[in-house]
C-alpha cells in the first residue's frame, strides 16, 4: 500500500495563468477553476536580468533569509546620546538624508538645514556667514545611512545634536536618529530662523537629558510593539503618528515625571510632546532602519534594504548589492498643501523617512489609517487598494504588524526589486513636503513615486553578481 500524502496529490487543481487568454478560456469552458494574472511584458531590456535573478539558485533562500531577518529584528530605544560621540561627527561634519551629494547639488531645504546646523554648532554668527562657509566647501557631508543613522526630511544631524540610540538585541546592532522638532518651521524642513535654533538648543539642554533619564528608568522601549498597537489605532507610521506619539507619552509619563527637574521644565516636555503628533517618528525610523540593516549583505537577495531621498535624487540599496546606491532623479510629491502655498513651492522628494515603507508600513500600511485617506484620493477603498497592491511587490507579511481592517493581515514586507520591475508597480510612499526655498519650512504632506530606474539598475547589479560568484 502506498503512503498517502494528501498535500501532494492534485485533485481538481486550481490553475493560475499568465499569457495567452485562449488557453485559460479553453479551461474555463471545461468548467475548471482558472484565474488569469494580468501579465504584461516588462519593459525592453529587463527580461534578461529578470530571468537571470529569477533562476539564480541563491535568490529564494537569500530573500527568505533577508525578509525573516527584517521581521524578527526587535529594535528598542535604549537612551539619548549625542551625535558627536555616537556617530563620530566633528563640528563641521554633517549628516544628511538620502544618497550622497555635494552642497552644489543640494536643494533648498537641505541647504537651509545645513545653515541652521552651522548656527546651532556656533561655527558662524549669522546665516550669511554660514552660507559662505558652505559655498567655500568648508563643510563635509555624509549620508545618515553611512553612519547607521536616519533623519526625516533634510535629515541634517550635527555633532552637538542629541540622538536616540536604538538597539536591536537580536542582531546586536545599533542605529540612531535625531529628535523630532515638531511641525511647520523646523530645521528638517529647511528653516533656520532664531526660533528654530532656540528650540534645538532647548532640545539639547532639557528634552534630551530628561528623555534619556526616563528611558533609563523605563528600560529598553520596544518600538515594534508600539507600532503594532499604533497601526491598530489609525496610524500608518509615517504620515500619521498621532496614536503612536500618544501611546509613547502615556507609557513614559511616570518615568519623565520622576526626573530631577523643576515641575515647570517637566511640564514643558509634556507640552512639547503633546504638541507634536510626529514625536515618535524619529524613534520608529531608526527602528525600521535597524530591521532593514538586519537584512543587509545577503548575496543573491533582491530585497530593498533602504530607500532614501536627498531632495535631488531618490536612492535605494539592495541586500545583494552591498552599500551601493542606485539612484534616479527625485520626483516632486503631490498632496495637500498648507494654506498659502502652491504646487510651485514644493521641493523634490526629500528624507530618509522612506525607511518606513522599506519596513512595510507608511504608504504600505495605508489601509490602517482611514483618517488620512485624503492623501490617496479620499476614500478608504483607495487606501485598501494601495495596500493590497503592495503585496504584489513584497516577499512576506509581517505577523507582528497587522492591519485590522484587512482581517488582521500582516503588513506587506520586504520589497523585491524583481517584483517591482516585472509588475511595474512602484512602492507607495507617504511623505511630508518641504518648501523649495531654503528657510520656508513644511508646505504640506502627500504621496510620491520613486523613479523606476533605481529598481532596474539594482536588478541588473544583482543579476551580474550571480555571474561573479
Amino acid at each position: 500500500m502506498k503512503a498517502h500524502k494528501e498535500s501532494r496529490l492534485l485533485r481538481e487543481p486550481t490553475i493560475a495563468a499568465a499569457g495567452v487568454r485562449l488557453l485559460s478560456d479553453a479551461l474555463r469552458t471545461q468548467g475548471i477553476a482558472v484565474v488569469d494574472a494580468s501579465w504584461e511584458p516588462s519593459p525592453e531590456g529587463t527580461a534578461l536580468p529578470l530571468s537571470q535573478v529569477a533562476t539564480d539558485p541563491r535568490r529564494l533562500e537569500a530573500n527568505a533569509r533577508a525578509v525573516q531577518a527584517m521581521i524578527e529584528s526587535k529594535p528598542e530605544v535604549v537612551g539619548v546620546t549625542t551625535a558627536g560621540e555616537a556617530l563620530g561627527l566633528e563640528p563641521r561634519q554633517f549628516l544628511h538624508s538620502g544618497p550622497p551629494l555635494t552642497w552644489e547639488e543640494a536643494s533648498g531645504p537641505l541647504r537651509g538645514a545645513l545653515v541652521g546646523a552651522l548656527l546651532l554648532e556656533g561655527e558662524v554668527e549669522n546665516p550669511t556667514d554660514a552660507w559662505e562657509m558652505c559655498e567655500r566647501d568648508r563643510i563635509e557631508l555624509f549620508p545618515c545611512h553611512s553612519r547607521s543613522a536616519v533623519g526625516p526630511m533634510a535629515g541634517v544631524i550635527s555633532a552637538s545634536m542629541p540622538v536616540y540610540e536604538i538597539r536591536d538585541e537580536v542582531n546586536n546592532h545599533v542605529t540612531y536618529s535625531n529628535l523630532n522638532e515638531g511641525l511647520g518651521k523646523v530645521l528638517r524642513m529647511g528653516s533656520y530662523s532664531n526660533e528654530v535654533i532656540k528650540r534645538l538648543r532647548w532640545m539639547k539642554t532639557n528634552l534630551a537629558p530628561i528623555l534619556d533619564d526616563a528611558f533609563k528608568r523605563h528600560g529598553p522601549f520596544d518600538v515594534r510593539a508600539l507600532l503594532a498597537q499604533s497601526l491598530q489605532m489609525g496610524d500608518e507610521g509615517h504620515n500619521r503618528n498621532r496614536a503612536g506619539s500618544a501611546l509613547f507619552l502615556r507609557e513614559m509619563a511616570a518615568h519623565i515625571a520622576q526626573c530631577n527637574y523643576a515641575n515647570s521644565e517637566i511640564a514643558q516636555v509634556f507640552e512639547f510632546i503633546d504638541g507634536n503628533e510626529h514625536f515618535i517618528l524619529n524613534m520608529v525610523m531608526p527602528a525600521a532602519k535597524a530591521a532593514a540593516d538586519a537584512a543587509r549583505d545577503i548575496p543573491g537577495s533582491t530585497m530593498v534594504v533602504a530607500m532614501a531621498r536627498n531632495g535631488t535624487e531618490f536612492g535605494i540599496q539592495v541586500s545583494g548589492a552591498g552599500d551601493r546606491w542606485f539612484t534616479g532623479r527625485a520626483n516632486t510629491p503631490s498632496g495637500i498643501l498648507f494654506p498659502g502655498f502652491s504646487e510651485a513651492d514644493i521641493n523634490p522628494d526629500i528624507g530618509d523617512s522612506t525607511i518606513m515603507e522599506t519596513y512595510g508600513i507608511g504608504g504600505f500600511a495605508m489601509a490602517c489609517a482611514p483618517a488620512i485617506v485624503r492623501f490617496v484620493g479620499g476614500s478608504a477603498e483607495l487606501a485598501h487598494q494601495k495596500t493590497r497592491q503592495m503585496y504584489e511587490i513584497t516577499l512576506a507579511e509581517n505577523p507582528y504588524l497587522q492591519i485590522p481592517s484587512m482581517d488582521f493581515r500582516g503588513t506587506p514586507t520586504g520589497i523585491d526589486v524583481a517584483k517591482v520591475v516585472s509588475t511595474q508597480i512602484l512602492p507607495a510612499i507617504n511623505t511630508g513636503m518641504a518648501g523649495k526655498e531654503a528657510g520656508t519650512g513644511q508646505v504640506g504632506a502627500g504621496l510620491v513615486q520613486p523613479p523606476m530606474s533605481c529598481f532596474e539598475q539594482a536588478l541588473v547589479a544583482v543579476a551580474k553578481s550571480g555571474f561573479e560568484k
Binding site: H4, A16, G19, L23, S51, F408, G410
Partner: protein
C-alpha cells in the same frame, strides 16, 4: 480547582512571547475558543499587563518576568504533551493573517502570477508568455509553491536547467518549456484529449506522443488521471531528467495510480541510468514507451494495467487501395509522430520523405499546423500534382486546443491525390471534434484512417 476534578495527569504550559502584540478583543475570542476545547483547562492568552499577570497568578500559573508588550500564553491540559494545544493557539493567533477571499470580476486584487497563485491557492501555473519572459514567470510560480507548466518555447536551456534545479528540492514539477500536453486529475491543459480518469499516469517528453497513448488507452476503455509533460529536452543529458524524476515520484505517491507510462524521447545515457535508479525504488510499476513505436509501447502499458490493446478500428476508403509505386511522403503536425513514422519506414527499407511541419523552421510567424492547416494544405496541393509520389501519410490530431474540424479542411485536397492516402487520426471517442465523424469524412474523401500512427505507417510502407 484541578485537583477537585480528580485530574492528576494534568500538565501546565506557560510562556511569554516577546513583543507579539494582539488586540485584546481578538485575544478574548481566542481564549474562548480554547476554553471550548474539552482537553484544555483555564486557558489565558493575553498581553502580559500587570492585571493579566495577576489574573494568571491567581489561577495558579507561575509567570516569568516580562513586560506588558509580551504575549502571555498559559493553559493546562491532560494530554501527554502541550503540542496539539500549542498548535491550536498558533493557528488561532495567525488565523486572520494572509487570507484573501477570491474575488470575482473587476474587483480582482492580483496582478502578478505569484500573487495570483497565493491569493487563489493555485496548485499549477499555466505560462504562455513570450519565451524571454517565461523563465521569470516560472520562477515566480515556484516561489509561490505552484507547479509551472511552461507552454512557451524559446526558453534557453540554461534557464530550463536552473528552473528545474530550483523546483526539484521543493517537490515541484517544471512541465516544459515547450510543453503542449498535460492532463491533471483528468483536466486537459493545452493540447489534450478528452479521457476518463483512471489508474494510469503518464510522464511524457513528447506532446503528440502522449496524445497517441491517450487515444489508444481510450480505445481500450481505460482511464488516465495525470499526464505530466516534461518538455522535449528534459530527458537529454543536458537537463538529466530532473522533471521526470520529480514527476515519477509524484505519481508514485498517488495511491490511485496503478501503472505509470514513461514516454521517452531523446533519452540520454546518463539520464537513463539515473531514471532506472529512481524507478527501482518506486512501488508503482513503470512501463517505458519508446517513441519509435508508441503503439507497441502502449500495448505493454495496457498489459501492466491488466488490460490489453483492443482491435483497433480502421476506416477504409470507398475506392480500392492502389499499390504504392513511388516514394512515401509524410506531412506531419506532430514531431514525435513524424519521428515514429520515419523509424518504421526506415526499418522497412521504404524510401520516405517525412516532414514535421510543426518544427520551428515552419512555424516562425505562423500558427502551428495542429491549429491551422494552411501550410499543410498548400503542401498537399503540390503533392497531388507530383505523380512520382507513391503514397501520402498525414496525421490529424484532435482534442482540446486542436483545429475544430480538420477533416472538412483536408477533404477536398485528399480527393485530388491519386496516390493512396493514409491518415493517423489521433483522438478519443469524446474529443470535441467527434472523432468518428472526422474519420468517416476522411475515409469518404479517399483516405484510409487509422487510430495508430504506427499501423498507418506500416500500411503505407507496404509495396
Amino acid at each position: 480547582m484541578l485537583q477537585t476534578q480528580g485530574r492528576i495527569d494534568v500538565i501546565q504550559h506557560v510562556e511569554l512571547r516577546e513583543g507579539l502584540y494582539r488586540d485584546s478583543v481578538m485575544l478574548m475570542l481566542l481564549s474562548k475558543v480554547l476554553s471550548e476545547d474539552s482537553k484544555i483547562y483555564q486557558p489565558i492568552v493575553a498581553m502580559a499587563t500587570t492585571l493579566n499577570v495577576e489574573l494568571a497568578q491567581s489561577a495558579g500559573y507561575e509567570i516569568p518576568d516580562g513586560s506588558n508588550t509580551d504575549l502571555l500564553i498559559a493553559f493546562r491540559t491532560d494530554e501527554d504533551s502541550p503540542h496539539r494545544c500549542l498548535q491550536l493557539v498558533e493557528n488561532l493567533l495567525n488565523e486572520s493573517g494572509g487570507r484573501v477571499e477570491p474575488r470575482e470580476g473587476t474587483n480582482r486584487t492580483a496582478t502578478s502570477l505569484g500573487r495570483t497563485i497565493k491569493d487563489y491557492r493555485a496548485e499549477v501555473a499555466l505560462i504562455s508568455v513570450p519565451g524571454e519572459h517565461a523563465a521569470y514567470q516560472a520562477a515566480e510560480a515556484i516561489e509561490a509553491g505552484a507547479h509551472p507548466l511552461i507552454f512557451s518555447d524559446n526558453v534557453s536551456i540554461e534557464s530550463e536547467l536552473n528552473l528545474k534545479k530550483l523546483a526539484e528540492p521543493l517537490g515541484l514539477i517544471v512541465m516544459g518549456p515547450d510543453c503542449g500536453t498535460v492532463i491533471l486529475d483528468g483536466v486537459g491543459l493545452g493540447f489534450a484529449n478528452v479521457t476518463a480518469v483512471g489508474p494510469i499516469g503518464l510522464v511524457s517528453a513528447s506532446g503528440t506522443g502522449a496524445q497517441q497513448v491517450l487515444a489508444l488507452c481510450d480505445q481500450a476503455a481505460i482511464g488516465v488521471r495525470h499526464v505530466l509533460g516534461l518538455g522535449g529536452r528534459d530527458l537529454t543529458d543536458d537537463i538529466g531528467g530532473i522533471s521526470a524524476r520529480t514527476a515519477l515520484s509524484f505519481l508514485d505517491e498517488d495511491p490511485t495510480i496503478e501503472v505509470i507510462g514513461l514516454i521517452a524521447k531523446q533519452l540520454g545515457p546518463v539520464t537513463e541510468k539515473s531514471l532506472e535508479r529512481v524507478i527501482s525504488n518506486m512501488t508503482t510499476p513503470v512501463v517505458r514507451i519508446p517513441t519509435e513505436d508508441l503503439t507497441s509501447g502502449t500495448a505493454g502499458l495496457l498489459t501492466a494495467a491488466r488490460s490489453e490493446l483492443p482491435e483497433l478500428p480502421v476506416w477504409k476508403p470507398t475506392r480500392e487501395r492502389q499499390k504504392r509505386t513511388g516514394r512515401l511522403v509524410g506531412l506531419f503536425s506532430g514531431g514525435t509522430l513524424a519521428l515514429e513514422s520515419k523509424c518504421i519506414a526506415d526499418a522497412a527499407g521504404c524510401e520516405a520523405e517525412i516532414v514535421d511541419l510543426g518544427a520551428d523552421e515552419y512555424t516562425i510567424g505562423r500558427p502551428h499546423p495542429m491549429i491551422d492547416n494552411t501550410l499543410r494544405l498548400e503542401r498537399l496541393d503540390e503533392v497531388a500534382k507530383d505523380k512520382s509520389i507513391g503514397a501520402v501519410l498525414i496525421d490529424v490530431v484532435l482534442g482540446h486546443g486542436a483545429a475544430a474540424d480538420p477533416a472538412t479542411e483536408l477533404e477536398s485536397v485528399i480527393r485530388k491525390i491519386q496516390a493512396p492516402v493514409f491518415v493517423s487520426l489521433i483522438g478519443t471517442r469524446n474529443d470535441p471534434q467527434d472523432r468518428d465523424k472526422q474519420a468517416t469524412t476522411l475515409a469518404q474523401a479517399g483516405a484510409e484512417v487509422f487510430l495508430s500512427n504506427a499501423r498507418a505507417t506500416q500500411a503505407a510502407v507496404i509495396q
